[in-house]
């Protein structure tokens, strides 16, 4: 294991988040089994007191979980020079078999943590813990992913050795490579551009419709999820090419580097913000008729829809600006 400050920070914070999530999940099982707001029993009153404390602590931990995705990518990018053949985060992530699984788990836990924070925020707005079961159920779903991420990330860091020859992004994100990335790379850019802009248009329309008419919350949630997947594919397929101004360089990580103005960070942050808030709109929809939330929840959903649409809009504007104003062209690819 390398004693790099960021690696140590990620390693120990992940350990702490896992322990806290495990404790909260165990407590969540008790909540799911024994919660009865009508009861004045000692157990019920004890649960009411403790849930406030646990929710507050876990929400701070999960906020760090959100940040840790970017710290992980930044760390992988910043230590790539230590590995022979690595040019960016891709090289670091392929040093051993735990790099990409860690990244994937980090993305999954980012989305789950974001959704949990939305549920927790909505629950805190009600006077009678209206979403308590839902939020602890979601925490129970998230807990295995958080624990798995800690184990996989720990294995990744522990097995990082600088004498390994690794692959650069040019080799991994090319048509000759194997895997889903190469299949995305192989897709012609025009159909992918149509898919990307079409998906964004439909997502904006659904978000705007919800914002104006409060209709179609589930549609906003589903489209936000689909837009995330399509956008990632679009970044690999054609967006990255415009930033690099090279027809064969499809790496989704190099845009995080200084040479490209660190544009990858705002792009990915906007994408994830749009996804989490958009899915959050749909997630809250089943609870809009809860007595203590029926006045408040539509406003919360409206704000989430606005954030989602604005995030995706900004993402699209940055990407389109680059495509329009660069001298690079993809004619024929």
């Amino acid at each position: 294991m390398m004693l790099h400050p960021s690696i140590l920070a990620l390693f120990f914070s992940s350990l702490l988040i896992s322990l806290m999530t495990l404790y909260a999940a165990c407590y969540g099982i008790l909540i799911l089994r024994r919660w009865d707001i009508a009861s004045g029993s000692e157990l019920q009153l004890s649960l009411e007191r403790r849930t406030y404390l646990i929710s507050t602590i876990i929400s701070y931990f999960l906020v760090f979980q959100l940040v840790s995705l970017f710290l992980f990518i930044q760390t992988a990018d910043s230590i790539c020079h230590l590995f022979v053949g690595a040019m960016c985060a891709v090289g670091t992530l392929t040093v051993n078999g735990f790099g990409y699984p860690t990244l994937l788990l980090k993305v999954v836990t980012f989305i789950l943590a974001g959704l949990w924070l939305i549920l927790n925020h909505a629950d805190n707005l009600g006077y009678d813990y209206p979403l308590i079961r839902a939020k602890y159920l979601l925490l129970l779903v998230a807990a295995p992913f958080v624990l798995a991420e800690s184990v996989v990330q720990g294995s990744f860091f522990l097995k990082l050795t600088p004498d390994i020859i690794t692959s650069c992004c040019g080799a991994l994100f090319s048509q000759s490579a194997r895997g889903i990335a190469s299949e995305i790379v192989a897709v012609p850019s025009n159909p992918m551009q149509i898919a990307f802009y079409g998906c964004m248009l439909v997502t904006f329309a659904a978000g705007a419709r919800f914002w104006l008419q409060r209709k179609g919350a589930y549609l906003v949630g589903i489209l936000s999820g689909i837009s995330f997947a399509v956008s990632i594919a679009a970044i690999i397929s054609f967006i990255s090419l415009y930033f690099y101004e090279m027809p064969s360089h499809h790496c989704p990580f190099c845009i995080l580097q200084k040479e490209y103005g660190y544009v990858g960070y705002p792009l990915y942050a906007l994408l994830l913000a749009g996804t989490v808030t958009g899915v959050g709109v749909g997630l809250l929809q089943p609870y809009r008729k809860k007595k203590s939330l029926q006045e408040i929840l539509p406003g919360v959903q409206r704000k989430l829809a606005a954030v989602s649409v604005l995030s995706y809009l900004l993402f699209t504007v940055i990407v389109t600006w680059k495509i329009v104003f660069t001298s690079f062209t993809l004619e024929g690819y």
């Binding site: 707001i37 004045g40 000692e42 009153l45 009411e48 406030y52 805190n124 006077y127 813990y129």
Partner: protein, 228 residues
């Protein structure tokens, strides 16, 4: 109506120093009346007052304020109820030393975000009600016992509470000041306030102010009835 249902309060639960201050107390307190909790030291009066005033939570049982259950409320909701419904007068007055009487009176209203000039005017009016307008800028450590108590009452009234809670309010007062306190409370009651007092002072529970006297002993209500 403030209703307590089967309230128990255990301190230091599970430790060798575990102490049960209240055992299954059930009680109804009518609004616009004065209820006096009477009993010796250690009978649970202060604990019950703290629970009724939303300053602490019971170990078991529920409390209802106008049929709304309040013990399960998350802290931020409870804070709002505490601020808008209850005014507290503490046994030791608990005035903040180092700041003036006026600032002490204004302090509980700061979180409401009320315009400072309006709040200051209201605080001065509250002090004026107790003939303390000339002492407004005096630091609280310079006040006499009677003045400090009246400042504490003015502070309790600053958020226009519907219920005034006072814990052993006459414990540190001589007879004249104790009667003066009873007079102030009678005026507030006449204006529609609900008053809940904890006291083992006969000046309080034998006064005409008391509509109901609840007698407590060993953490239980032993009798409750209309005051003679």
């Amino acid at each position: 109506m403030i209703s307590a249902r089967d309230i128990s309060k255990v301190f230091n639960a599970g430790r060798p120093s575990e102490f049960t201050a209240l055992h299954g107390v059930s009680l109804d307190i009518r609004l616009h009346e004065t209820t006096v909790l009477k009993g010796p030291s250690g009978s649970g009066k202060t604990t019950l007052l703290a629970l009724l005033g939303c300053m602490s939570r019971p170990t078991t049982g529920r409390i209802f304020l106008n049929d709304r259950e309040i013990t399960s409320l998350p802290e931020r909701f409870l804070t709002e109820i505490r601020r808008s419904t209850f005014g507290f007068v503490f046994q030791q007055f608990n005035l903040i030393k180092g700041i003036s009487a006026l600032e002490n009176v204004m302090a509980p209203a700061y979180p409401t975000g009320e315009k400072f000039s309006l709040l200051r005017r209201r605080a001065l009016a509250a002090l004026e009600m107790f003939n303390l307008e000339k002492r407004a800028d005096a630091k609280v450590e310079w006040l006499s016992g009677g003045e400090a108590q009246r400042v504490a009452i003015a502070r309790a009234l600053i958020n226009n509470p519907t219920v005034i809670i006072a814990d052993e309010p006459t414990a540190h007062l001589d007879t004249r000041l104790a009667h003066e306190f009873i007079g102030i409370m009678a005026d507030l009651k006449a204006k529609g306030s609900t008053i809940i007092l904890a006291s083992h002072d006969p000046i309080v529970y034998d006064s005409e102010l008391a509509d109901r006297v609840v007698e407590m002993r060993d953490g239980q209500v032993v009798s409750q009835g209309i005051s003679a």
